[in-house]
C-alpha cells in the first residue's frame, strides 16, 4: 500500500526534454519509478532517455495508459500544463515548478473541482513511496520503506527529517510535499485522510510552518474524528517576524495567517504530539507511539 502512488503508478513527464526534466526523469528511472513517456509539444514521435515523446498529454495517456504526471516546466507554462493534465484525466499530477502565478493556480484549482484528480504542489519536492515510486526532485538516498507517513510544506527540511527518521530505524510509507505556495493541491487534511485508510501507515508526521490555514484545518479535522493513529507535528517559524515573507509564498497570507504558536496550540489540543524542533521529530514519533500503545489506540 502507501498513498497516492505505488509500484503500479505509470508516470509521464511534462517538460521531460528540459535540463531539469532530463535530470529528474533519469533519477526517477534509476530509482525504479515506472516512467512511460514524455510530453514536449513539437517533439511528438521522437524519444528521449529511451522513452517516447508526445505532443500532448492526451496522446501520451492514450498510448501509454499513464496515470500520473510530473510537471516540470517553466513557471510561465506550469498553469497550462496542469490544466492539460486535468483535462486528459491524469489521476495524480505532481508539479514541482516554483513561482507559478497565483491567478494561474486559481484557474487550476477551479478546474480540479468535481474531478477525482489529485494535484500535488506546485512548489513541491513531489511524492515518494520508498522502493516503489518517486515523482519529484527529492533525494532518495536516505529514504527507507516503512510505516511513517509524512506530509510537509517544505522540501529540504523534510529530506533532513526523513534522513533522521531512517537513521532511527523509522522507515516511511509515503512522503508527500504539499508545497510552499499559498494556493496548492492536496493539503494536510487530504493526506491525513489517506494515511488513516492506509494499512501500511502507523504514525503520521505533519511538517508545517507559519502562514496559511493548513495546520489549523488539520487540527479542526482531527477534532471531528477518532483518528486511530498517532500524529506528530513540527511547525517551524516560531520566532519569525510577522508580516514578512520568509522564502515560501505561503508564509505570508492575505491577513497575516496563523502564527506558529497558535498552530501548535491547536494541534496539541487535539492530541497531536509536538516536536520541539527539527532534531526532535524521531523522538516525538517514539513518544507518540509509546503513548498510543499505553492508551490502546488502534
Amino acid at each position: 500500500m502507501a498513498i497516492f502512488v505505488n509500484s503500479e503508478t505509470r508516470v509521464i513527464v511534462q517538460g521531460m526534454t528540459g535540463r531539469s526534466g532530463t535530470f529528474y526523469t533519469d533519477e526517477a528511472m534509476r530509482y525504479g519509478t515506472t516512467c512511460v513517456g514524455g510530453v514536449r509539444p513539437g517533439k511528438g514521435g521522437g524519444s528521449h532517455l529511451g522513452l517516447p515523446l508526445f505532443d500532448s498529454v492526451q496522446e501520451a495517456v492514450d498510448a501509454t495508459q499513464a496515470n500520473a504526471s510530473l510537471v516540470i516546466v517553466p513557471a510561465q507554462q506550469a498553469g497550462a500544463a496542469m490544466l492539460e493534465a486535468i483535462d486528459a484525466g491524469i489521476g495524480v499530477i505532481v508539479c514541482v515548478t516554483e513561482r507559478v502565478p497565483q491567478h494561474d493556480m486559481s484557474r487550476v484549482k477551479q478546474a480540479l473541482l468535481g474531478t477525482d484528480c489529485v494535484l500535488i504542489g506546485p512548489n513541491s519536492q513531489g511524492i515518494l513511496t520508498p522502493g516503489q515510486c518517486k515523482i519529484g526532485v527529492m533525494p532518495t538516498g536516505n529514504a527507507k520503506p516503512g510505516h511513517i507517513g509524512i506530509a510537509s510544506r517544505s522540501a529540504s527540511l523534510t529530506s533532513e527529517i526523513l534522513a533522521q527518521c531512517s537513521k532511527a530505524g523509522l522507515g516511511q510509507s509515503t512522503t508527500v510535499g504539499i508545497g510552499g505556495d499559498t494556493l496548492h493541491g492536496v493539503g494536510f487534511v487530504d493526506c491525513l485522510k489517506r494515511f488513516r485508510d492506509d494499512p501500511e501507515t502507523e504514525v503520521v508526521v505533519l511538517i508545517g510552518e507559519i502562514g496559511g490555514r493548513g495546520e489549523e484545518e488539520a487540527a479542526a479535522y482531527l477534532e471531528t474524528v477518532d483518528y486511530g493513529k498517532p500524529v506528530v507535528a513540527l511547525v517551524v517559524g516560531r520566532h519569525a517576524p510577522r508580516g514578512r515573507r520568509m522564502g515560501h509564498g505561503g508564509t505570508l497570507s492575505a491577513l497575516g495567517g496563523g502564527s506558529a504558536a497558535d498552530k501548535i496550540a491547536r494541534l496539541r489540543a487535539t492530541g497531536v504530539e509536538i516536536a520541539a524542533d527539527a532534531d526532535d521529530v524521531a523522538s516525538a514519533i517514539a513518544r507518540a507511539s509509546a503513548h498510543s500503545n499505553k492508551t490502546g489506540a488502534k
Binding site: 513557471a75 519536492q125 529540504s156 529530506s159 533532513e160 516560531r238 520566532h239 519569525a240
Partner: protein, 391 residues
C-alpha cells in the same frame, strides 16, 4: 510585492474605485505648493513606506492649512518609522502623499484575495474598519466575514447585498457594491494577490471611498506584466536583500549577529527557531534554494561576510535536488578565497554528498567546525556569537 498607498489608489481608481484627491511630494515646499491642486477643506499627510502598521507609528498626520501640511511633511520626510513590520531598523520616509481629508460617517474593511481552498476570488469584509482593525482582527477571527465573489451579474450582486446587510453595510449599498466590483476587476486584470481597503469609508454625501488602500501584485507574474518593474522600482528594500534576489537567494534581514545559510525555506525557518531557543539571534533568514549553483551560494556568503553585525556563520545544509552538499561547500570556499574578513563557520551538513562537502571545507582551509546534529551546531554558534559581543 506591496505597492505604495498612492500607487495602489491610482490603480484602483482606473477601474472606478473612488479615492480621495491626492498628490505626492518629496519636500515640504512641494507638499505646500501641491495643496492648491487638491480640492479639500482639510488635508492628510501620509508617509509612503513599504511596510504596514504605519498609522500606529505616527505616519499619518492631519493638517488644516497648506502651511500646516508643509510642517507635517517636514516632520515626516527623512524620519524613520518603526512599525511592527519594518524590523527595529525601521524605514526612512522619502515620499509623502497629501490628500483631502474625508468626513467619514462609517468605516468598514474590505479585501479581495484568492481563496486558498477553492482558488476563486473571495471578499473579506467587516462593518467596522479603521487603524486598529488589524490588531482587533488578529485577536478575534470572527471580526472578518468571508463571501465568494463570482463574476459580476445580477444574482451575484443580490448575494453580495445580502452579505453586506449581514455585516452592517446597509447605507448607500449600491455604491458599495459598485466599488467592490470595480476593485474585483482591478484585482483580476492585474495579477493582484491582495486588495485591501481600510478604511473603506462612507462619506457624509453617501459615497464609498477608499481612504487607504493596499495592493499586492504577484512578482511571479512579472513576465506578463512588464509594468510591474517600474511600479516597484522605488520601493525601499535593503541593498543586501536586492543583491540576494539577483542570485535567486531569499534573504530577509533580521536583528541578530549570527549569519545563517540554509538550503530551503523550511530548513531556514527551523534553524532560526533553534538559534533563538539556544539564546542566539539570527542576523538574517537565508534560503539558497535547492537549485542554487556554487556561484549563487558564494554571493550569499559574501553578503554575510560584508555585514558588520555578523560574528559567525552557521550553515544548515541538506544536500539534495540539483544542489548537493559539495556544491554548497564549493560556494563557501569561493567566497572565502576572495574575502578579507574570514568569520568562523559552524556547519551542519547532511544529505547528498555530505562527506564530500565536509572534505572540501576542511581541505580548502575554510575556518569550519562541523557538528553531527543541528542542535549541537546551533549551540556552538550561539556560544561564539555571545563571546564576540563580550569582547
Amino acid at each position: 510585492m506591496f505597492l505604495a498607498e498612492y500607487q495602489s489608489k491610482e490603480l484602483l481608481a482606473q477601474y472606478g474605485v473612488v479615492v480621495p484627491d491626492g498628490r505626492q511630494a518629496r519636500s515640504p515646499e512641494d507638499a505646500q505648493r501641491l495643496c492648491k491642486d487638491i480640492d479639500a477643506r482639510k488635508y492628510v499627510v501620509k508617509a509612503q513606506i513599504g511596510a504596514g502598521g504605519r498609522g500606529l507609528a505616527g505616519g499619518i498626520r492631519f493638517a488644516a492649512t497648506p502651511s500646516n501640511v508643509a510642517d507635517e511633511a517636514r516632520r515626516l520626510l527623512g524620519d524613520v518609522l518603526v512599525t511592527e513590520q519594518t524590523g527595529s531598523a525601521g524605514e526612512t520616509v522619502e515620499l509623502v502623499h497629501i490628500e483631502a481629508a474625508i468626513d467619514i460617517v462609517q468605516s468598514c474593511f474590505v479585501a479581495i484575495a484568492l481563496d486558498p481552498s477553492s482558488g476563486a476570488p473571495i471578499l473579506l469584509a467587516s462593518g467596522a474598519g479603521g487603524v486598529e482593525f488589524e490588531q482587533r482582527a488578529r485577536m478575534d477571527e470572527d471580526t472578518v466575514q468571508g463571501c465568494a465573489l463570482p463574476p459580476d451579474s445580477a444574482e451575484a450582486r443580490d448575494a453580495l447585498a445580502t452579505f453586506l446587510t449581514g455585516i452592517g453595510m446597509t447605507d448607500a449599498q449600491d455604491a458599495a457594491i459598485d466599488a467592490i466590483y470595480a476593485a474585483r476587476l482591478a484585482f483580476m486584470s492585474n495579477d493582484m494577490t491582495l486588495v485591501e481597503i481600510n478604511p473603506f469609508a462612507r462619506s457624509a454625501d453617501g459615497r464609498w471611498i477608499a481612504v487607504d488602500a493596499k495592493v499586492a501584485i504577484d512578482p511571479n507574474a512579472g513576465f506578463r506584466r512588464p509594468e510591474f518593474a517600474s511600479m516597484v522600482a522605488d520601493r525601499p528594500a535593503p541593498a543586501d536583500e536586492l543583491a540576494a534576489q539577483r542570485h535567486n537567494i531569499n534573504l530577509v534581514r533580521l536583528d541578530g549577529n549570527i549569519g545563517v545559510v540554509a538550503n530551503g525555506a523550511g530548513l531556514g525557518l527551523a534553524t532560526n527557531d533553534m538559534i533563538m531557543d539556544a539564546g542566539g539571534k539570527p542576523a538574517n533568514f537565508m534560503d539558497i534554494r535547492t537549485t542554487a549553483s556554487s556561484m549563487d551560494v558564494a554571493r550569499g556568503i559574501e553578503i554575510l561576510l560584508g555585514d558588520d553585525r555578523v560574528r559567525a556563520i552557521l550553515l544548515t545544509i541538506h544536500g539534495g535536488g540539483m544542489t548537493s552538499a559539495d556544491t554548497v561547500a564549493e560556494g563557501v570556499n569561493f567566497a572565502y578565497a576572495k574575502a578579507k574578513r574570514k568569520l568562523p563557520v559552524i556547519a551542519y551538513i547532511s544529505g547528498k554528498h555530505a562527506d564530500w562537502g565536509h572534505r572540501i571545507l576542511r581541505e580548502r582551509k575554510v575556518p569550519v567546525e562541523s557538528f553531527d546534529t543541528i542542535t549541537a551546531a546551533v549551540g556552538r554558534v550561539a556560544e561564539l556569537a555571545s563571546q564576540g559581543r563580550a569582547r
